[in-house]
Amino acid sequence: MKKPNNKPVSDFVVLIRVLVLTGWLATGPAINAATCSVHAEPIAEATSSLFYFQTEARSVLHDSNLLFAGGIGLLAVVGLLAAVSIRTDTRPAAEVERDLQKSRVLLDSILDHAPALMWLSDAEGRFLFVNRRFEQVTGRTRSEVEGKTYAEVWPGEFATLMHSHQRQALESPSSSEVEIQIPVASGNQTHWCVSFPVRDEQGKIYATATIATDISERKKAEEERDRFFTLSLDLLCVAHADGTMKWMNSAITKMLGWQPEEVVAKPFLQLVHPDDHAAVMEGVEQQVRHGQPVVHFEVRFRHKDGSWRVLSWNSMPYGDLMYAVGRDVTEQKQDNERIAQLHVALQRRAALLEASNKELEAFSYSVSHDLRAPLRHIDGFVDLLRKTNEARLDDQGRRYLKIIADSAKRMGVLIDDLLVFSRMGRADLRYQPVDTAALVQETIRLQQQEAANRQISWQIGTLPQVVADLGMLKQVWANLIGNAVKFTRPRTPALIEIGCDSSRADEHKFFVRDNGVGFDMTYVEKLFGVFQRLHRVEEFEGTGIGLANVRRIILRHGGRTWAEGKVDGGATFYFTLPKAHAV
C-alpha cells in the first residue's frame, strides 16, 4: 500500500477506521462498549465514519451480493480482534509498533482477498492504491495504474463519470453511490460503486476510497424482467396504500395513452370513472379490511383522448403496496353487448318464426278441413242433379255440369297439392340411410306401369347411398322421373338417363336427363315455382307443384336444384345432397 504520508499515526488511523468500523458492523452494540477505552481521537475519527460504512454495508447487503457480504463478515471478525487488542493498549511503544506491523500485513491480506474492487484515488483522480481483485477484474496491474488518472488508464466515458462521482463523494457529508460500467478485460461490467472521502490525522481529505461490487448478473436479471414487463400487453401496476401510483409498465401508453411518468405519484382514482370509484373502494376495502388475497373488479379508466376504457383488474396486496394487473376488456365488453343484442333479436325472430309457423299450420289445417268440404258438396250435388234430372238435361246442360264437377275436382287436387307442399316445408326431417339405386329402380317400376305401352330406354349410372328423409326423397325421384316420362311422351324411343357425379368432396350431384320436349331457358326459374307451368294442361297434365316440392325438399336437406334445357332439345334436372348431412 502506497502511503500518502509516512507518519505511523496516519496508518494507525486508517487501520483503526477500517477495522473498527467493519467490526462494529458485525458486532453491533457490543463494540460500543469495547471502544470506550480507546484513544479519543481515533474513536472520534471512527465514529464520524460509522455512518458511511453502515450505509454502504446496508445497501450492499441489501443487494444480496453474498460474496461481498462474506467479505464484510470476514472483516468484521478481524475488526473485533483489533478492537479487543486496542482496548488493552497500555503497552510499550515497541510492542505497539510490532502489533501495528502485524495489523498492516493483515489489512493488506484482507484487501487483496476481498471479492470487491477497492481503490484509493486522490483529488485529481490519480490511483493511489488498487487491490488484487481490481487487477484481476480489469486486467491492469497495480504498477500500471498507480499514479495515473482515470482518463489516462481508460480514456472516455468511464473517466468522466468517475470524476464526477468522486467530486460528489468529496462534497457529500456521507458516502456517494453510483452504478457504473467499469471497463474490464472481457468488455464492460456493471458495478455498484460506493465512494467516501479519506482524511489524514488533521482531518484533511487527501483521497477517495471506492469499493465496487459487480452487479452485472443482477442487472441482466433486471433487464430480462423489465423486458418482460415491457412486452406485457396487460397493465402491470404497483400502488401505495394511500392510492397513489408507484410504478407501472409501458402498457399504459398503449392502453390509455398516458406516459408512465404522467401517472406515477398521482392518485389511482384520478383516472377512474367517477361512477366506478365505489367499486374500487369496495375492492380495496375487501383487501385491506377483510384480507381477501386477490380482488377482481372491472372499472372504466380515462384514456388520454378523453374516452373511457373498461379495465378488468386483479389486485393483490403485499406489505404496504398493492400489486395489480389490468386488462383492457372494452372490445370484449362491446362484443358481449353486441352478442347479447343479437341474441335478443334472434330470440325475437325465432319467436316470430315459431308464431308464423303455428299460424301456417293452423291455416293449412283449416284449409284441409274446411276448403275441401264445399268442393265435395259441389261435386256431390252435381252428381245427384245429373242422376235425378237425367231426362230433363240436354247436351249443353250435361256439359255445364261436367265443367262444374271437373273444376271442383281440379280445385280439390290443387288444394291437396298445396297441402303436401306446405307439409314438405313443416314436417321434421327423419334422416336415415337411403339406397338411391334401389329407390330409383322402385320409382321407375311404378312409372312404367303408367307408361306400359311406351318404349323408354333407361340408362342408369352408379348411384350412391345417401342419408336423407326417405319419404321426402321418394317424392323427389317420383317427381323428376315422372316428369321425364311425361315430357318424353312424343318421343319414340324416349331416352332417360339417371346418374350421379360424386367427385366433389362435399356433395353428390344427381341428374335426370331426357330427350323430351325440353323448355325455354328464359323461364328456367319459373320451373321451380309453386303452380308454375310451361305447358298447358291439355298438352301435359299436372298442377305445377312437383318441382316446387323437389326444390323445397332438397333445400331442406342442404342441397341445391337447377335445370338445363332447350325447346325440343330435352331437359336435364340436377340436385345435390351434402355428403355429410347436418343433423
Binding site: 268440404a373 268442393l375 261435386d379 252435381v382 280445385m411 297441402l419
Partner: protein, 149 residues
C-alpha cells in the same frame, strides 16, 4: 222392418249428411242411420239422454265421426267412448275432410278403428261411404251385446 239403427253418424254439415245418406241409400243402408248434429248429440245418443232419452235402439254397430264439429269434436267423442267400460269396444270410424298427420296420429292414439278421408270426387265419396257402411254394419262381427242384422 223394425229399424235397428246400426250406424250413428255424427256430422254437423247438412250437405255432408245429405250426401252421406245418399251414398248409403244406394246400398239400402240409409234407414239404419241415426244422425247426431255434433259430438254432444252423439254422446246423448250413446247414453240415451237429451234428445235421445229413452230410445230403444241399443248401441250402433259403428259410429261414424266427423272430426271437426261444434261443441264436442270427433276426437272428444272418441275419447269418451274409449274411457267408458260400457262403450270401450264400440267400433268407431273417423270420416273427415282432413288427412293432416296430427289428426291421424291423435285418432289412432285414442283407438280409432278406421280413418277415412272424404274424397272431393263424389263417385269416390260414394264408394268410401258405402264400403264403411257395408263393412261395419254387415260384414264385421260386432262385439257381444250389439245386434247384427
Amino acid at each position: 222392418m223394425a229399424s235397428h239403427k246400426r250406424i250413428l253418424l255424427a256430422e254437423d254439415n247438412d250437405h255432408d249428411v245429405e250426401l252421406t245418406l245418399a251414398a248409403l241409400a244406394e246400398h239400402n243402408l240409409a234407414d239404419d242411420v241415426v244422425v247426431a248434429r255434433d259430438g254432444a248429440e252423439a254422446l246423448d245418443y250413446l247414453y240415451q239422454r237429451g234428445r235421445f232419452a229413452g230410445h230403444t235402439n241399443g248401441l250402433p254397430a259403428v259410429v261414424m265421426l266427423d272430426l271437426k264439429m261444434p261443441k264436442v269434436d270427433g276426437l272428444e267423442v272418441l275419447r269418451c267412448i274409449r274411457n267408458d267400460p260400457a262403450l270401450r269396444s264400440l267400433p268407431a270410424v273417423m270420416v273427415t275432410s282432413s288427412r293432416e298427420e296430427q289428426d291421424l296420429i291423435r285418432s289412432y292414439e285414442l283407438g280409432v278403428n278406421a280413418y277415412v278421408v272424404k274424397p272431393v270426387d263424389f263417385e269416390k265419396f260414394v264408394t268410401s261411404i258405402k264400403n264403411i257402411g257395408l263393412f261395419w254394419a254387415t260384414i264385421n262381427e260386432p262385439p257381444p251385446g250389439i245386434m247384427k242384422r
